[in-house]
Symmetry: C2
Subunit: 122 residues, 2 copies
């Protein structure tokens, strides 16, 4: 395994749908999160706002089965290629990238966040 370059203990992870190739989200992983992802086959990250390790889907049930992990030329960024249950975005869209910079909504809404999370918009 390459010697990954963590910055302040974290490495950015791009999450891509293994089949559609849609980019679903971007998150950060600690060394432990990367290890747990490899060991369990399910995506783990580190939340900078909540300051804790998290398994994607632990609250929503929207897990990410990781089919492959790629590293970049500098070993300072990863891609998790995943099979997504439900949707990646806590706003209910398939991808977190559901808007253009001009403000147009171009993504697909998959679920109602109020029904999945205890409080809307988390």
């Amino acid at each position: 395994m390459p010697d990954l370059k963590f910055q302040d203990g974290l490495i950015p992870v791009i999450v891509q749908d293994a089949k559609s190739r849609e980019v679903l989200m971007m998150a950060y992983a600690s060394e432990k999160a990367v290890r747990l992802t490899r060991e369990t086959g399910f995506a783990h990250y580190y939340s900078r706002s909540r300051k804790k390790l998290w398994k994607k889907g632990e609250e929503s049930g929207h897990f990410q089965k990781v089919e492959r992990i790629l590293t970049d030329c500098d070993d300072d960024c990863l891609i998790y290629e995943v099979v997504q249950t439900g949707a990646a975005c806590h706003m209910g869209y398939a991808s977190c990238f559901y808007r253009t910079l001009d403000g147009n909504v171009v993504g697909t809404k998959v679920f109602d966040p109020e029904k999945v999370y205890k409080k809307p918009g988390r």
Copy 2:
């Protein structure tokens, strides 16, 4: 335009091939880099190591024509959807993500970096 959240003046940018949907690279943009990208239609970034704004391709000729910019639900990460001239990676691969975390090379080599850059591996 959404109120983008820059951290230490920068926002991470995922660069995706507009046609093949391959993720080509990840880089950071300053507010000025985002503005220049929108104004010129060509990808601009901010190099943290060189501490300067750069236009992708200014040295290699491998420019990125930006077809669309997406922002994520938190407005703290962007996707540039691009038409890539040549290849994105300075190592000569189409994508910077040309290896699995297990060390297998899975990407396609497009050019010889020694012939494109003054010094190999830059």
